[in-house]
């Protein structure tokens, strides 16, 4: 039952987050903005459209979206959704599998982009791997810190009982949230790392890699991107809302937390300009430093 609810929430909810982010941005701009359900409409349409494939591409291009979506979906099976819905699969070390599944998704997307032979997509792919190679240590350090704090190496147990962790390592947890939000912004190609709204080939990171995908392939990529937004958000939300409740209360808390998360993303996107491309590595390294500091704080407390 809880697994079914987990799957339902995980499969159906994510596109809504994009809608919420866009509504927040619209509010800052003073416009009505697209409907909250716009991404669902887009996906539904794309699934019903035809496709155009480049003559330069091979099966790798077509495999990109499917592998990437499949990997993200499997990753979702490892992520508990708040305190109430444990992951359908939990085992020691699933944190590693989770991170590497996202890496597989990226690898597939990058290869698909390179398969088009377009200089823009090549550029986007180059930026993507650079930034993710730098975001990886921040993510893993955060995982290490959490594992250390909760004495556990599975998402479901790491992300349960966070109240105690806050009592013990408050400042460290705050730093971790900071690092993870930075990682999430970078991994989900949001401002200040990437700008999903300005359609300029030369400046985009993620979107430029999917310029050649059309129809159902594009639908899978967009859906996969919303899943990724949701998954990284799930970690942050659980850390930021460590409260304990009954199962329905947990689910409600989690959904509310995700909406808050989307609002915060929208506010960040509305108040900052995006970074110059050569500044991005510095910020990502800063995220690693945050996470490393958190590790240090927790290490000291644990061994004290």
């Amino acid at each position: 039952m809880r697994a079914a609810l987990h799957l339902l929430l995980f499969l159906v909810f994510p596109p809504l987050l994009m809608g919420v982010i866009n509504r927040v941005k619209a509010a800052f701009a003073g416009r009505r903005g697209p409907p909250v359900l716009q991404l669902y409409f887009d996906l539904w349409k794309l699934l019903r459209k035809g496709a155009v494939y480049s003559t330069t591409t091979t099966w790798i291009f077509r495999a990109g979206p499917v592998v990437s979506l499949a990997a993200t979906l499997v990753a979702g099976l490892l992520m508990p959704l708040g305190g109430g819905l444990p992951a359908p699969f939990a085992f020691p070390g699933d944190v590693i599998l989770f991170a590497y599944l996202l890496a597989t998704a990226r690898f597939a997307t990058v290869l698909a982009a390179l398969d088009t032979g377009s200089s823009f997509e090549g550029m986007g792919a180059s930026r993507e791997v650079t930034f993710s190679a730098l975001a990886e240590p921040a993510l893993f350090l955060s995982i290490a810190a959490l594992a250390l704090a909760r004495q556990s190496i599975s998402w479901t147990s790491i992300l349960s009982g966070q109240m105690a962790a806050w009592h013990l390592f408050g400042p460290a947890m705050a730093m971790l949230i900071g690092a993870l939000v930075l990682v999430a912004l970078a991994e989900n190609s949001r401002i200040p790392f990437d700008d999903p709204t300005t359609h300029l080939e030369l400046t985009m990171v993620h979107e430029v890699m999917i310029l050649d995908h059309s129809g159902p392939d594009l639908a899978m990529i967009l859906y996969g991107a919303s899943l990724k937004l949701f998954l990284l958000g799930a970690i942050v939300v659980r850390l930021a809302f460590p409260f304990e409740a009954s199962v329905p209360g947990h689910v409600a808390l989690f959904v509310a937390g995700l909406l808050v998360y989307a609002v915060v993303m929208g506010v960040i996107e509305s108040t900052f300009a995006r970074l110059r491309m050569d500044r991005i590595p510095q910020i990502l390294i800063a995220a690693s430093v945050f996470a490393a500091l958190a590790v240090a704080v927790i290490l000291v407390r644990v061994n004290a």
Partner: protein, 344 residues
């Protein structure tokens, strides 16, 4: 790294962690033998088919050599430690050992483990970047030097040897737990604890299952796209590059360009050397730039010695069979044989 954790864990009295470390290390060595051979075989196939191994002159080989491309991609993903392939299984064990160390070891090795954990993650990211670059530059996009001979797929026996290795990579990726169970006797020689007593085996079974789920889901998604498009208009055309009618193969990212942002981040370590000519004139007549990162170890340590050795080896090479693939295949078979002998 796995062995290192193992030794440290052993000395601090955490045999379970040690067992994981050793198992990871052992499996990783085996896996390296697999995917490195695979990559070398594929590289050999590329060299044979196209007559060059200069990465910035290749490109678009996947259209001509789809099977070699598939095998190379599998190898590239495996060496980057990506699921559902074997590289992930061994890295998973090492990570598990490190996490075990982080959770349970005393403070000094614990900190070291955290450091190692982050470094391993970064290395994983870099490896994935590097092999994405290699795969992309060699097999994907359009051919960069169309004036050269059109490469053809290599003969069946070469494909077979690559295929076997690729299948092994996937097989270990999916059924890693079985192999690890087999490794147990070896591990127990180093550590007092059986792998069965750690949580790793159950985890590995799930890793295998989820990897299979990944393969299945990807396959299902592939079929659904096929099904969705079955009665739709599906067309082919040139890649969308802003509507420019006269696209040339030079308008692709090169391997060096692909790597340049990363090199820039690590410029203080890699010390890239740049040669730039051409003027800053208003209307320059010619322009050239080149940058390379000489391996610091090679540059400062090995350089002098290697030159002499190379001469000696080139003499020795005359005596060997011409096809590298068969050579590597022999090594592989020997390895597998040894492994079975030891396990059985």
């Amino acid at each position: 790294m796995g062995a290192g954790v193992g030794l440290v864990a052993l000395s601090t009295g955490h045999p379970a962690v040690a067992a994981l470390g050793f198992a990871g290390a052992l499996l990783h060595v085996t896996n390296h033998a697999l995917f490195k051979s695979l990559l070398f075989l594929a590289a050999g196939a590329v060299g044979k088919a196209s007559g060059t191994l200069q990465i910035d002159r290749l490109g678009g080989l996947a259209r001509r050599m789809p099977r070699t491309a598939l095998c190379f991609t599998v190898g590239a993903a495996a060496i980057s430690g990506l699921p559902p392939l074997n590289g992930f299984v061994s890295e998973f064990l090492v990570y598990l050992a490190l996490l075990g160390a982080i959770v349970s070891l005393p403070v000094v090795p614990q900190s070291a483990a955290v450091l190692a954990f982050a470094v391993l993650a970064c290395v994983g990211g870099l490896a994935s970047a590097c092999f994405a670059k290699a795969t992309g530059a060699i097999f994907l996009g359009a051919r960069r030097s169309p004036e050269e001979a059109v490469p053809q797929e290599v003969p069946a026996e070469m494909q077979l040897s690559m295929g076997v290795l690729a299948a092994a990579c996937l097989g270990i990726g999916l059924a890693g737990s079985t192999l690890i169970a087999g490794l147990d006797p070896v591990v127990r020689q180093f550590s007092a604890v059986s792998l069965r007593e750690t949580a790793a085996l159950g985890g590995l079974t799930l890793v295998g299952a989820l990897s299979a789920a990944l393969v299945g889901a990807a396959f299902a998604a592939w079929l659904s796209v096929r099904w969705l498009l079955r009665r739709r208009t599906v067309k082919t055309g040139p890649t969308w590059v802003c509507g420019y009618p006269a696209v040339q193969p030079s308008m692709q990212t090169t391997a060096s360009s692909f790597a340049q942002p990363l090199i820039l981040v690590f410029k203080n370590i890699l010390l890239p050397v740049r040669h730039q000519s051409g003027s800053s004139a208003a209307f320059p007549a010619a322009l050239a730039v080149e940058e390379h990162c000489p391996d610091p170890i090679e540059r400062f340590l090995l350089g002098p010695g290697v030159t002499g050795g190379a001469v000696a080896f080139s003499v020795a090479r005359q005596a060997q069979p011409k096809r590298v693939q068969s050579y590597v295949l022999a090594i592989f078979i020997t390895l597998v044989g040894l492994l079975w002998w030891r396990l059985g």
